[in-house]
Amino acid sequence: MKPEASHALERLMQALLAEVAPALQPAYRQASVAIQAMMVGAIREELDRAAARRVDENRALRRLFAEAAPVVEDAALRERVGAAAASADASLLVPELEAGNRALRSLLIELHAHVETLAGDAARRVEAAIWRELAASTERRKLALGPC
């Protein structure tokens, strides 16, 4: 058995905070290293979930698009929303998942803006689903050090 990457990063963060930073002068360098230690902590948090949170979110967005497509009145947008709903992640590499996620979230912005202009219960249901997804997206990205 070998140490896990997340364990190594945790150890690195502790060493930077408890051993390296206090030994540095001037105070500016000390504070900079403390910030870098916090970055290592954030990277450790992100490492374990990086692929999973993107896969989960891309799946949630495609599901949302599938539900929303029939409500969309703009034909070109409806076609793109439908196509996105039917798409799939080509690989589990994080940069590729991220590229897919950005494309889906860009389309989500367009869909949200469009649905806001529509009347009727179906549009309101889609709008509510979008807000739920946006709230969920911030849970997936939450970092322990964040203020809220």
């Binding site: 916090m38 803006a113 970092l143």
Partner: protein, 342 residues
């Protein structure tokens, strides 16, 4: 003396009224001035037969920063409020020519022995004085709101704006920052921007001086719970005073995670104190608009810092960490205000 210290001494010498043996020492960068490189130093010289020693601050423009700002505005704001009910350090010299120190800069008095960090605030001996600090903080903010920009000599330096245009100008500015600097789509903040345009606030009760970044971390406090100086005026402008009130109430400054605005006071108490000091009213609907606007502005700041770091124009790690951590917290703050997250 380092090269920078020598050049700073050479710049200051002719501005000290016949001073001799001008010397700069202890030039030491302070962390946290993400919009300008901030360093403290000691200036020593001989004048009228006596030795003078002054502790000063150098604020120098960096190549890239968290906020793109006008140093002239910041300098003018310090000068305008010095000696008023709003405590600030005295600003002494402004140099916009990059020749003397490679970048434009200004020099101001250093106030020593005080704290500004959230970490200090949330630990003894300051922790027990949080409520007092909070009362002073929002009283001073009320004084800023009450101040007359014309009497302060700031009209002409700060761009004028009509009472019913304050919100539109600020929103357009920060939307443009997001358009130019975002590295990834921002569906929460884009939805907030649309909400803000659909639900405009009433005209400002007055067009006043807006500090624009008066929150925990940007003022000095002492061990007795007194606020000793308001810092970081680089985003100051004329506008709706509610913008300042809303900014400091944001959930992203609640590091204590106990629901206290700015980790200092209950929100309702902070608002009451501000209303009493400013003579203005924080009408709930208007305040909600400015609180949501604060989320757009905050995200603009985190996003542009992230871009600077990514582009390599500023390697300060705080820019990267802020774009990760504060960016998501800012989205969460907006969702909470709109009732989509508890």
């Amino acid at each position: 003396m380092s090269d920078l210290a020598r050049r700073l001494a050479a710049y200051l010498a002719p501005r000290l009224g016949g001073a001799r043996d001008v010397e700069v020492s202890g030039l030491d960068r302070i962390h946290g001035g993400a919009s300008r490189e901030t360093s403290r130093f000691v200036l020593r010289y001989e004048q009228d037969g006596r030795r003078v020693e002054r502790r000063l601050i150098l604020r120098r423009d960096p190549p890239g920063s968290l906020i793109e700002t006008d140093r002239r505005v910041e300098y003018a704001a310090y000068r305008a409020f010095h000696g008023t009910a709003v405590p600030v350090p005295e600003a002494l010299w402004l140099e916009e020519d990059p020749a003397p120190l490679d970048f434009p800069f200004f020099v101001m008095e250093e106030l020593t022995g005080f704290e500004s960090s959230v970490q200090a605030l949330l630990a003894p001996p300051y922790l027990e004085h949080r409520a007092k600090i909070g009362r002073r903080k929002w009283t001073i903010l009320g004084e800023i709101a009450k101040a007359d920009p014309e009497k302060l000599g700031l009209v002409g330096l700060l761009a004028p704006v009509a009472a019913d245009e304050c919100w539109r100008r600020e929103l357009a500015h920060w939307e443009r920052v997001l358009d130019e600097d975002e590295l990834e789509p921002q569906p929460v903040i884009r939805a907030v921007i649309r909400w803000l345009r659909r639900n405009p606030p009433p005209p400002a009760q007055k067009v006043g001086v807006v500090h624009a970044d008066y929150r925990t971390g940007n003022f000095l406090f002492d061990r007795q719970g007194e606020v000793r100086a308001v810092l970081d005026w680089e985003m100051a402008h004329l506008g709706d005073p509610l913008e300042d009130l809303a900014w400091g109430l944001g959930a992203v400054w609640q590091w204590s995670r106990d629901g206290l605005a700015g980790s200092l006071l209950p929100k309702a108490e902070a608002i009451r104190i501000w209303e009493a000091a400013s003579g203005l009213r924080a009408e709930p609907r208007a305040l909600l608009w400015w609180e949501l606007f604060s989320c757009v502005k905050g995200q603009g700041i985190w996003v542009s810092g992230g871009r600077e770091f990514q582009a390599g124009s500023n390697h300060d790690s705080v820019l990267c960490l802020s774009s990760w951590m504060m960016g998501n917290s800012q989205d969460r703050a907006a969702l909470m205000l709109l009732g989509h997250l508890t």
